[in-house]
C-alpha cells in the first residue's frame, strides 16, 4: 500500500461529477492529505483476518411474499424532474 496519487479528474468522471478546475485542484490537495493519513492501515498485518461487512451479521432474512398496497403512480411520479405521460422523461439515449 504505497502512497498512490489519486487522479481526481479521472475518479470524478467515474463518479459522474462534472468538477471544475478549481474544485479539482482543491480536492486534490485535501484528498492527498486524507489518503496519506489512511496509509497508516498499511502498517497492520491483516493476513488471515476475515473482513467485516456488517457489525452484526444477519443472513437470509425472509418475509412472506404478500401483496400490499404501494404508494401508487401519482406519488411515484410527483417528484419527477420531467414527466412524459406516465413515465420519467430523459434525454434521448439511442440514436
Amino acid at each position: 500500500m504505497s502512497a498512490q496519487k489519486l487522479d481526481v479528474a479521472h475518479i470524478a468522471n467515474l463518479a459522474r461529477l462534472d468538477l471544475n478546475e478549481e474544485e479539482i485542484a482543491t480536492f486534490q490537495s485535501q484528498l492527498d492529505k486524507i489518503l496519506a493519513y489512511v496509509e497508516k492501515l498499511s502498517g497492520l498485518d491483516v493476513e488471515g483476518i476475515e473482513p467485516t461487512a456488517h457489525a452484526i451479521p444477519v443472513f437470509d432474512v425472509m418475509r412472506d411474499d404478500v401483496a400490499r398496497p404501494g404508494f401508487g403512480l401519482e406519488k411515484a411520479l410527483r417528484n419527477a424532474p420531467r414527466r412524459v405521460g406516465d413515465q420519467f422523461g430523459v434525454p434521448k439515449v439511442i440514436e
Binding site: I11, Y37, V38, P51
Partner: protein
Amino acid sequence: MQLTLTEAQNDLRSGALSPRELVLGILDAANRLDGEIGGYLSIQRDAALAAAETADVSLPLGGIPIAIKDAIIVEDEPCAAASKILAGKYIAPYDASVISKLRAAGAIPLGRANMDEFAMGSSTENSGLQVTRNPWDTTRIPGGSSGGSAAVVAADEAIAALGSDTGGSIRQPAALCGCVGLKPSYGRVSRYGLIAFASSLDQIGPITKSSEDAAKILQVIAGPDPQDSTALEAPVPDLSAELEQGVKGLRIGLPKEYFIDGIDPDIRDRVDAAVKELEAQGAEIHEISLPHTEYAIATYYIIATAEASANLARFDGVRYGHRSDKADNLIDQYRRSREEGFGDEVKRRIILGTYVLSSGYYDQYYNRAQKVRTLIRKDFTDAFEKVDAIVCPTTPHPAFKLGEMADDPLQMYLADIFTIAANLAGLCGISTPCGTVNREGKELPVGLQILGKPLDEGTILRLSHSYEQATGFHKARPV
C-alpha cells in the same frame, strides 16, 4: 417550552396541557427563537395542529411533538437531507418506519431539523441550506451531523428530536449542545425511510433532555421491521424499568488509549469527575485496552465513503431531485446534475469512496479497512468480557467557532475519535451532559459517553440515568 418529554407527558395526562396547546407552544418557541438558532428547515404547522386535534394522550407518546432530522422521510412533507439536490424538489411519498411507529404511539412529527448535507460532517456547516448556531454560544457550531436536532432540543424549541448516527452524528451534537443523545446498536432500529449515508453504520436514535426521555422514544422505535432486513428480531426489554436498576456492581471500563494527550484538559477533568461519581454510586472502575484505536478513523473514512459513493449514485436527476438544464445527453445530465446539486464535502467523499472501491485499489483500501474493522470489533468483544460498559469523553474539545475548521476536512475527521468505533463495532452509545467549561465568558457543555454491548441499551441507560439523577447536569440550559 422548557419541558422534558416526561414532564410534557405528565401535563398532557393530567389535563394541565392539551395536545393543541403543547403544539402551539412549540410553534411559538420556534417562531421566537429559531431566527437566531436556525435549527429548523421548515415546519408543517397545519399537519402538526391537525394531528394534535386527534391525539390520544393515553398512548406511549400520545400528543408529544418530535422534531425530525431532515434525512428521515415523513409522508407528504419535504425532505432534502439538507442538500440542494433535493431542496424544493422532493415531497416524501411515504412515512419512514420510525415515523409510522411514532405515529402509532401517538407522537406528532413536528419540523424538519437541519443537518450536514447527507449527514456528512461534524458541525452542520456542511448543510447546503442554512446555518445552525449553538444555543449556548451562537458564534459556535452545534455539532453534527444532527446539529439541527440537538440545537432545537437545547434551545427548548422542541420536546425531543430524532437524529441519525453514522460516526457520532447523534452523540456529538448532543454533547456540544448539552442534550442526551442515544445511538442504538446496529440493527436495533429500522432504517427504512432514512436517506442512506453508510448502510453498515447508520442508525436512527433520539436526542432528548434526559435518559428517561430517550428510553421512552427508543422503546417505541426499536424492533424488527419487514421493510428492513437489518432490523433485528431481538426482543426489546422494558427500558423504563431498566433505568431504575441503579449502577451498583456494574463494571465500567476506561480505555487507556482514549485518555491521552490531545483531550482538552477541562473536558478530561469533567469526565474524571463523572467516573468518580459513578464509582461513588457503586460501579467498579477498571482500566481496559482497545489496541486498534489509532486505526479507527482511517478505517471509518474508507468504509463510510465507499458506502456513501454507492448510496449517492441514486441521485442522477432522473426520478427525483435536481436535474441540470445544461445537458443534452444522459451522461452529461448525470454529471451536471450531480455537480450542481451536491456540496463540497459530499463531492469529496464520493470521490474518496469511488477511489477506494475502484479497480486496482479495492484490496489496498476497502478490503483492508473491512479487515481492520474486524480487529476493532474484536477489541470491543474482548473488552466486554471484562466490563459491562465503557466510559469516555464524547468529544475531545468543546464546540468550536463557526468557520474555524472549514478548510481542513482531515482535522474535522480527527475529532470523531471517540464516537466512530461504536458504529464500526455495532455498539450502542449514549452521551449525557457532565458539566460545562467556560470559554470567552460562555459556558459550553461537555458530554460523557457511555458505550455498551450490542443490544444492551438497558445498561447504558441505567448508568446515564443514575448519573443524571445524582448530578442534575442534564437540566442545565443555555443562558
